[in-house]
Symmetry: C2
Subunit: 664 residues, 2 copies
């Protein structure tokens, strides 16, 4: 069997240059080269094996993660990997670990909120991992509402220290990754109290554990918060609980870039603009959107490859059955997810640009685009993570029964992914923020203030309120400007309708609360428009490679028309399209599926994922699914003995009608 | 803290008699009494503890399940429990086990497909559990398409035996629950071959393991297929793999109720009608629908109780924050699921009636309603299991971060539930069957053949194609006949539209394949109508108890209008309602949420679930969530030591920059 490629036939059907598509997916030839190299490095290193992950006990799993993290760090040093290379290495190791929080939250928090001196003191330690840090914001009783945190940091002017304290059970820090067992330090968010006055929530660098014996320092209680969703999955992470009993830290460990406490206990707002923190947020959310496209594409890759191997029904004259990927129902569930993966990839790439843009403007003290950038990233985080979580589970279902086995890779991928809908902002809470921004934008339309960035189309609201969709035959739906106008009109009209309904309330906050479910729908419409428009913009670039652009056009149309079909109620009730046009869109969609079909395998090959990264038998590159499933089964610990442990005590007495005397 | 009820205030707000609602939910006072008694019995027996389930290794989990099954059987015998009591006992033990397949599939298969003699021989053994059986249909390469199974049963007329054989790797039996480690016998589905001729797939009773030492019999290879989704969850089940190498069984172990092989190897169709097997299918699917309402109501109970405890934002003057259940977005996600749980309950109760009806008709040789009953149960299985799987995950998200902890109970509930979308018929494959039936129904409308049962409304197709929804103000949507007509018109029009589009194809099979995604949508519309109409019918009964009927009316309206809102595209594009009417429905929905709000806790109390059954800290009856979460965390094995295993080898060398020399 060695060397047989069961997808050979599929691959030869492709109508485009896969290698060129890999570059488009990666973002550049250089990124493809680096990521490809790191992917192979990880795949070829036995130390990074993960095929047994779902079978390990929590303790073994966790210890294994510590080993992998240390090994990774060793390799990073030995090979003198760049920051970019190291980050790809961690990506392919594909195991949540304390290092994610250290690099992804602790270091950025100090960079973003620390003064120059603080950065000079702490960052070199963190860069060398002489300290390991986490991000301790959430508490047992407080998450989304950060301003409601209860932990206190009371300034003691006598000793020039802050006293960090957990006054209640609900003030216990709860959830921070890396906290439970590993971190030596944390950025702790606490209410600043000086002279009995509450100055709101600020960040403090607190040492948690001794650098000598790793024991928690006096006054500190720490532990792991226990098992989370799934086997393997996020259980490799030590999300932790932390309580402070009057723990003292020097004054200079408050992060003081924007707000300072002086030696005398006076509070001073620095001249650094508060908005700076939004820059970090844009950065973090951009990485989340990019992670969404990775996770979704991974699931889609598995489901697509397996759908080409799996056959059910339709055998004629004893010949092979039909590949399930040839069923239109399978295509109508799978191909929109394939298209979404590409769509999220491109909007993620655009967010990288947005982050640079925002950073440059901040440096030039231009804050004008910040609220829009903030709303836009909040919305895209919400949209892409929700769609990805649902999409992974749909991919699992697309694999029928075998998708339920851990060896399919999909259960673990789902379990490890879903919290992205909750952390870094609960998706509904974020959409409400977007809605708030949209209502503000609409309300200012009359005032001459021009909406910017992704809300610029609102400036054409008068046109959008009355435009008519020009589609007369199915192919008309292939026109990007037709699609764009329909999505713009729908979003504008939904926002305007919400604003009109809001204006009927005497108290606008009450109105916002009462209409919040509708407002969330308007926010979703706006965010979908952003993704569609960024895909269309991408297609305006020159894209080299035989047939590459053509495939992307097909995917872009699938993405847009699938959204239109799924949310057709929005389009119809706002009068943006007619029922007839909706049905033409549906017809066009079917024809697009037929066009995508021969390219499906090549389109997922373009993600350039190694079998190690996919960790899915159903998704393996060569499609040799059945022997691999069969062999993997026998590795389960319950197969160590033919007769199971417990037979003598529990099964035999039952069969022999001797339970009465059994001790159970 | 002992004895405090944090939901006290909520409970006192309820506007109806909870005890009476419990009876409605249970189906009768008698069922409530039995289920309540069994629920308490399980909860009070230490042997049935399950709070540590997600922390156990696969082997420990499995052994524990064997112990529980033996203990349950012992109690059933000791207490001389009736069949009904025993089945409630297993329900509350709440752990997938080989007994599910023994009682739920093996015994019914023999009852349904065995001759009288076969039943007399095998059933007493099975009833006493002197043999343990499973249901071995699915193969590694064949699931949905049962006719494609590869296992062979070749008749050897010389020895009067069948030779059971697995000719290929893909013919290995794969998935049967209880097979991997426990079952002594199986009903094996295999292609019957006599004289080189293939007579299609039939069932055979095959002994798998020795009743003396539990070793597989000669020629038989068996094992467990390995880890499945989630920790705990379905991993307590030994889904198995099975290969036959020319295994011989006596001729009388073929299940011969409808099809017989004589001593001479002749195949004879018996005079028992083939349709009989459909009766079993209706029965099995009815239990699946009832399980859906149990699983969904359980998730909803957890999310509702926690939403009343959890507070975020909106604190005024330092007072408590707002209960998240008071946010309209939370309500618009949660209350439709609460309403769905009730809706599925009632349609499940109706299916019990349908099963009796079908059985009686079968006995009277009346097969006229069978195709309709078959399509209806297929559709309801698909609809309720899909909605329940999605609903559980939505409930988990409604709990924010804490829903991701295993101690919330929701991850395990999701993981254990989702395969219901796949087994007993993949949900899409089932909807395609429904669609086929609908198309047949529509095509026969002209012929004078009156559609029956749940398709009876199609007989009024002419009216339904042209009726106009009469809603003029929001309250008009409270009228059941208005709702019913809208759902009937939508479903009829979607089916007719599909039929018209199908007629454009020269080859109707090709047309069906091409339009299958639309056909699935028409099938969903039909199934939703069934659920809505059965809820409305329920409300036509006399329902005693203060305020009980009123609450059910609210829930029925929420269910219907939420569907209407979510699928508004269907209603608009078929012209069943206008955009204005859609917006009035939405308005009415908001007001219904406000009416449900004060009753929410009482409405989930009416499920009468013990804390043991819920196994969720977030859902505990007294609402004392935070101390319980905090205490539970410390029980995780990684908290056994303060400094984690692996510190010396992996963390310390990292911190001390000594990795270079470390052996990892
Ligand atoms: C795997 C994981 C890792 C994490 N890592 C970290 C970490 O490293 N550091 C850290 O500090 N934290 C971490 N967290 C915590 C995370 O940031 C919070 O869980 C998240 O912010 C959500 O807050 P919550 O849990 O309080 O949800 P809640 O806000 O309690 O959500 C419960 C429900 O209330 C609703 N709701 C809340 N507010 C409103 C409103 N105003 N209007 C309408 N509805 C509302 C939500 O939509 C949701 O349905 C992590 C969490 C997870 C799951
Ligand atoms: C937890 C669990 C327990 C089980 N227990 C048992 C048991 O006890 N005994 C037993 O015999 N089996 C058992 N099974 C097997 C189960 O019955 C099958 O998995 C199920 O029938 C689905 O079949 P499949 O896996 O072949 O899916 P497939 O049919 O391969 O599905 C793959 C995809 O193809 C699509 N598809 C298939 N056919 C068509 C079509 N004609 N048109 C359009 N799309 C199509 C499906 O919609 C799906 O998206 C169990 C499975 C699970 C997960
Ligand atoms: Ca919809």
């Amino acid at each position: 069997m060695e060397g047989i490629d069961y997808h050979d036939g599929e691959r030869s059907k492709a109508e485009f240059d896969v290698e060129e598509m890999k570059i488009v997916w990666a973002g550049s030839r250089e990124v493809l080269e680096v990521s490809d190299r790191m992917g192979r490095l990880v795949a070829s290193d036995e130390a990074f094996r993960k095929d047994n992950r779902t079978m390990l006990s929590r303790k073994d799993l966790f210890k294994n993660t510590l080993r992998k993290a240390a090994h990774a760090w060793k390799r990073i040093i030995e090979l003198r990997l760049s920051e970019q290379e190291a980050s790809w290495l961690r990506f392919y190791i594909d195991e949540p670990a304390f290092t994610d929080l250290h690099w992804g939250m602790f270091v950025p928090a100090i960079k973003g909120q620390g003064t120059d001196e603080q950065q000079q003191k702490w960052l070199p330690l963190a860069y060398k991992m002489q300290i390991i840090g986490c991000y301790a914001q959430t508490e047992l009783g407080h998450g989304s509402n950060v301003q409601g945190l209860e932990t206190t940091a009371t300034f003691d002017s006598q000793s020039d220290e802050f006293v960090i304290h957990s006054p209640t059970l609900t003030s216990s820090k709860w959830w921070p990754g890396g906290l439970g067992k590993v971190s030596t330090h944390a950025v702790v968010y606490a209410r600043l109290i000086t002279d009995g006055q509450d100055h709101g929530v600020h960040g403090f660098i607190v040492q948690l554990r001794s650098l000598e014996d790793h024991l928690p320092l006096p006054g500190i209680t720490i532990g792991d918060i226990g098992m989370k969703f799934g086997n393997g999955g996020y259980n490799s992470m030590d999300n932790g609980v932390l309580r402070f009993d009057h723990v003292r830290i020097p004054r200079d460990q408050m992060l003081m870039r924007v707000f300072q406490v002086t030696r005398e206990g006076k509070c001073v707002q620095s001249n650094v603009p508060r908005q700076l923190v939004y820059g970090t947020m844009v950065f973090v959310r951009q990485t989340i959107v990019s992670d969404a496209s990775s996770a979704l594409s991974r699931a889609v890759c598995i489901a697509t490859r397996y759908s080409a191997v799996r056959r059910q029904f339709g055998s004629q004259n004893g010949g092979p059955e039909t590949q399930v990927i040839d069923y239109k129902t399978q295509q109508s569930r799978l191909f929109p997810l394939l298209a979404s993966a590409y769509a999220f990839r491109f909007v993620g790439q655009w967010l990288k640009w947005l982050y640079t843009d925002v950073t440059q403007r901040l440096q030039a003290n231009d804050f004008s685009t910040l609220p829009e950038a903030h709303a836009c990233t909040a919305g895209l985080k919400s949209l892409t993570t929700s769609a990805t979580a649902d999409g992974i589970e749909e991919c699992r279902k697309l694999c029928g029964g075998h998708g339920y086995l851990c060896s399919s890779g999909l259960p673990e991928l789902f379990a490890v992914y879903v919290p992205a809908c909750t952390y870094e902002g609960d998706n509904i809470v974020l959409l409400l923020q977007v809605a708030r921004f949209l209502m503000k934008t609409v309300s200012q339309l009359g005032s001459g203030k021009q909406p910017v960035g992704t809300t610029a189309y609102m400036g054409r609201v008068a046109d959008l309120m009355q435009c008519c969709c020009a589609v007369q035959k199915a192919e008309d739906w292939l026109n990007p400007s037709v699609i764009l106008e329909a999505f713009e009109a729908r979003s504008a009209r939904m926002s305007v309708a919400c604003a009109q309904n809001l204006s009927k309330f005497a108290n606008s906050e009450e109105g916002f609360a009462e209409l919040s479910a509708d407002l969330v729908e308007a926010a979703v419409a706006h965010c979908q428009l952003i993704v569609v428009s960024k895909f269309i913009e991408k297609l305006e670039e020159a894209i080299p490679g035989k047939g590459v652009k053509r495939q992307l056009e097909i995917l872009c149309n699938i993405y847009a028309l699938y959204l239109l079909h799924n949310y057709v109620g929005d389009f119809l009730s706002t009068g943006c399209i007619t029922p007839k046009q909706a049905s033409l869109a549906n017809e066009q969609l079917r024809s697009l599926y037929a066009q995508a079909r021969p390219n499906a395998i090549a389109l997922v090959d373009a993600f350039n994922y190694t079998d190690h990264y996919l960790s899915s038998i159903l998704g393996c590159y060569d499609g040799n699914v059945y022997p691999k499933l069969y062999d993997a089964a026998w590795k389960d610990p319950v197969n160590e003995s033919v007769v199971p442990d417990g037979y003598q005590q529990y099964i035999r007495p039952m069969l022999k009608q001797q339970l009465r005397n059994a001790r159970l």
